[in-house]
Amino acid sequence: MGIVSRQSERKRRVKDRHLRIRSILWLFALLVAGALAPATADAQQSTTQKLEAIRAQMEKGQAFYIAGQYEKAIQEFDTGYAQYKYSAFLFNAGVCATKLNNVDKALEKFRRYVQVDPGAPDIEKVKERIGKLEAAKAAAVPAPPVATDGGIEGGATGVEGGVVDAGPAKINITDQVDDMRSLVVIETDPTGAPLTLFRKTTASAPEFKVGAANAGWTRVTSVRAPANVTLAVGDYHVVVEKFRDFNVSSTEVRIEPGKVLHFKANLSQGAFMAFLRVSANTDGAHIYLDDDRKKRPEWGRTPYGELIPAGEHSLLVEKPGFQSLRRKVMVKHGDQTEIQVKLERVPYGIVRVISQVPKFSVSIDEEPVGVWNNGEPVFERQVDAGQHKIKITSSGRKTWKGLIDVPRGQVLPVRATLIPKQPRGGAWTFALLSAASIGTGVYLGITSDDLHKELKSDREAGVLDQNDSRVDKGRFLALGADGAFAIGGLFAVVSAINFIKDPLPESSAQYDELADFHDPLVDPPKEQPDPAGIRRPPHMRGAPPGPAAPGAMNHVKRGKLARKNRAPERQKKPKKPPRISIAPGVSNRGGGIVLGGTF
C-alpha cells in the first residue's frame, strides 16, 4: 500500500464520515403556529397535528407561568396532561404549585411525575424535590421545622415566648422559568433505533463527538425511538446509536423552557432537512413548492408547514380569485422558516345570476352579456370590479334593473325574482276595437261630412228637397260616427285602464353573500346532475388539477366569446299548432276580451 493507497483510504474515511453525517436526518418538527387546541383529543389526528395541539397547550401554560398566573398555568398543564399523557405537564404543574406554596399539590404533581415517568432523566432530582417538599410539609404542621439544607425552609417565622404558631410550609425552592420542563418527542425512520441523550453540564465543554470522552457532557438517558422525553432547559446532544445497517448519527439540540419539540431522524435519507411553513392572508391557497408549472400535486394549502430539504426553493402560492404569487425562499438545515404571503385579489369579479324563470337575458352596463336557458350551467359573467348597471329580462316578465357593486376576486350572486307582466291581451283587444271604432267613426264622419257638403251645396243651388234621402242617410251616418266615436272612446279608456293597471309587484333581486371563486381542487367534479336539475358549469363541478386549475375563471363566459361557447344543444320541443282564443275575461287584473293562444 503506497502513499496513493493511504490517501485513498483517508479520502474514503472522510467520505464515509460525511456520508454518516448526512445520513442523519434530523427533522425539526415544532411550533406549528395557529394550531388548534381541541377540547377532546382525536385519535385520528396526525402526529403533527397532535404535537401542534400539545405544543399549544404547553405554551399556553408557559405563558401564564411567565405572567405569574400560576393557578391558571396549573389549569392549563392539567388540561394538557388530561389530554396527552406527557409527564412534562405534571412537572410544570408541580413547579407552578411550588410557586404558590401549595405543597400538597406540588407533591401530588411530582409524585405523579415519578410514577408515570420513572425513567425520566431527572427522576432523581424530582425525587429529591419531593423529599424537600415533604420535609417542608412535615415541618409546617406540628412545629415549624427549620430546613436550611436542601433549599427548603420551614414556614414558621420563629418561636417567641414559648408559643409556637403553626403556618403554611415554607418551600425553599426558587424555581425560575428555566426550571420548566419541555417535552421532546424523538422519532426515527425506521422506528426502533436506540437513542442516547447527553446534556452539556459544563458551559465550556467542547463540542460533543460521538465515541469521544466528551468531558463536560453527561449522559441523561437512553431510550428507543419513538420516545417522549421530558427535559429540563439546556444543551443536549442526541445520538442515534448504530441500528441495523444504519450508522451512528447525532445532533445537537437546545431545549428551551415549556416547549414541545419533535425530532425525527430519517435514517434512510441523505439530506439535511429544514422546516418551512407558509401562511397567507387567506386560508386554503394552494402552495406549489419547486413546481412552478404545477405538474405535481400541490405541496399544501395555507397555512401549511413541512420539513423540506435545506436550500433555495421556489414557491408558488395561488388561489382562485387572487393573483398568483411566486417567490424564492432559502431555508437552512434546522431552521424553522415561516413565510407569510399576502395575495392580492384579481381586479375583476363574477356576477352570478340566478332566477326562477326558465330563460332570461342579462345586460351589464347596457350591453347584452348573455342568455341563460333552463338546463344550462349557472349564468356567470366576469366583470371588472366596481359598480355596474345590470338588467335582467325575461319574456313575459317584468325587467329588473339595478346597480351592483362587483367585488374583486369574488362572486356576487344576484338572485332575481322576475314577476310576470300583467297580461295585456285585453288591453290590446280593446285598443284594436277602439281603433276600429274610431276608424269607423272617422269614415262615417267624413262620409257624413261629404253628404252635408253636398246637401248644403244643393240647398244653395236651390235644388235640395226636403225629402232628399241623403238627409236621412247623412243623419244616420253622423249618428253612427258619433256612436263609433263614443264606443271607440270608451274602448280606449278601458284599454288605457288595462294598460296602466298592474296589481303585480315589480321584479326584484337580492344579493346573496359574496362567495369566493370556485376552487376545483377543493371541490372536485361531481358527475351526478344537480338535484335541482340545473347543470353546473365545469368550474362549479370541479376541474382537474394542474396548470388549468387556477383558471377556473376560464369557465366563466366573457362577452362574445361566451356567447359563442353557449352550450349545450337543447332538445327541440315538438311544435304545437297555433291556437288562438278570444274570450271575455274578468279578474282582479282587469276586465275585457282576452286574446290569447299559443303560437
Partner: protein, 452 residues
Amino acid sequence: MKLRWRTGFVCVLAMTASACSWARFDEVAKDAPVEVIDKPDELGQGFGVGLATASLADKVRLFVGGNDVNSPGAIYELGTADTPNLEPIDVGSCDQDPQSNPCFLGFQVAGAARLTGPDGESHDLCFVLGIGSTPNTGDGVLVRCEDNTEYAMPAPPDANDDVIAPAIDLGDFDRLRITADRTPDPAILVGAPRGLHAWYYGPNSLNPVELRPGSLDPELTYGSAVGIALVGSTRVLAVSAPEAEQLWLFRSDDNDSAELLGCIGGTPGFGRAVAAGVVNADANDDLVVADARNVHVFDAARLLELEPPAFGVTECSLGSLPPGALIASFGCGTNIDTADCDNSDFGTSLAVGDLDGDGDGEVLVGAPNMTARTQTGAGAVLVYDVEGERLERANDVKFVASIGKDDRLGASITAPNLGERSIIAAGIPGDGKTALFYCGAVVPKEASARCQ
C-alpha cells in the same frame, strides 16, 4: 315632424267629431228650397204629367194631373207664403165613372182664378180638366171649381162630333191641350190634336170659337200645344201643329170671335210646346215656342202685325216675321250637373214665370230626358232670363237633388204666382212626384227663408 303628425291627427279627429253632429242635417233640410209633392195613394201612374195653377188673392192652387183617365189629378193649396200644403185639398178631380159620368183628363190642364159657369155665376179657382160630361150641362170641356161646381163647356159642333162625342160615347178620347191667359177672368183655349180642332172661349164666355188654320194636312195633328198671349186687351191665340212645323196664330179682340193672324214655323218640331207670359220689359205677353232643339221668344205685340198667308199656302216660316218679333232663341245648355242635351227632350214643356219678382218673367224650359247627376232621364228645368230685349245666358238649371233615373223632371212645368213672385212647379211623372222650386240662382236670397 311628430308634432305635426299629432296635430294633424287631432285636427282630423276634431273636424270629424264636429262634422258628425246629426243636427246639422236637420238644419240643412229645414225649409229646404225644394218641396216635393208625393203622389196621393188614391191616384195611379203618371202623377205630374200635367200641371196647372189657379191663383186668387192669397190662394194659389196647383193642379197635378195624371196620365189618363185612370190617373185623375189632385189639387194642392200652395198659399202665397213659402209653406205649401203638401197634402191635397182635392183628390179625384176628373175621377168620375167613365160610364155614368165620364171625364177624360187633358194632357195640358188650365187653371183660372174665376170662371163663369152655365149658371151665370162666377166660380173661383177653377180648373179646366178635359173632356167630360155632367148631367146638367152635358158633354164638353169639363170645369171643376173650388166650390165643387162642375160643368162642361160646350165644344164647337165639329169638334163635338170629332172629339167630344167619340170620347163620351166610345171612350175614344183625345187628350186635350187647354190653356188660359193670366187674367183673373181668363179666356180658355182648347186644342184637340187628334181631332185637328182648336177652339176658344172668351172671358166669362161659354161660347166656343172654332179656330181653323188656313190649311192643314189631315194626316197631321193640330192643337198639340196652345197658348194665349195678352197684348193690351187683344189676345194672341197660338195653336201649334208641330208635325207640320207650324204655329197658327189668331187674334181675338172680344169674347166671341177670333181671326187668323198668320202662321210661323219652319223648323222641325216647331210648336211642340207653347207658353205665354211677360218675358221682356214691356207689359205685354210674349209668346214662347219650342221646336225640336230650341226655344224661341216672340214679342206677341209684333206678331199682331203678321199677315195671313195666301190661301192655299201650307208652309210657314220665320221669314215672314215682322221686325223685332223674335226676341230671342236659345238652345239647351248643360252645366256640371247636367248632360246629354241632344237627347234631353229640351222644350218638351214651357212656362213663363217671374221667379225673381222683377216684373218680367223668366222662361222655364223642361228637358225631361236630360241626364242630371249621372242619372239618365232624370230630367231638368232650365231657366232663362231675358232682360229687356236681350237674352241673358241660361241662368239656372233646376232638378231635384234626390233625383233618380227616368224620373223625367220637367215633363210638365208651371209657374205658380205667389203674388210677389213665381215659383217653379215641375212634374216628375217618372217618380210620381211634383217638385216646387222656391229658390235658385235668379232668386234673391231674401226672397224667402228657404233661400237663406
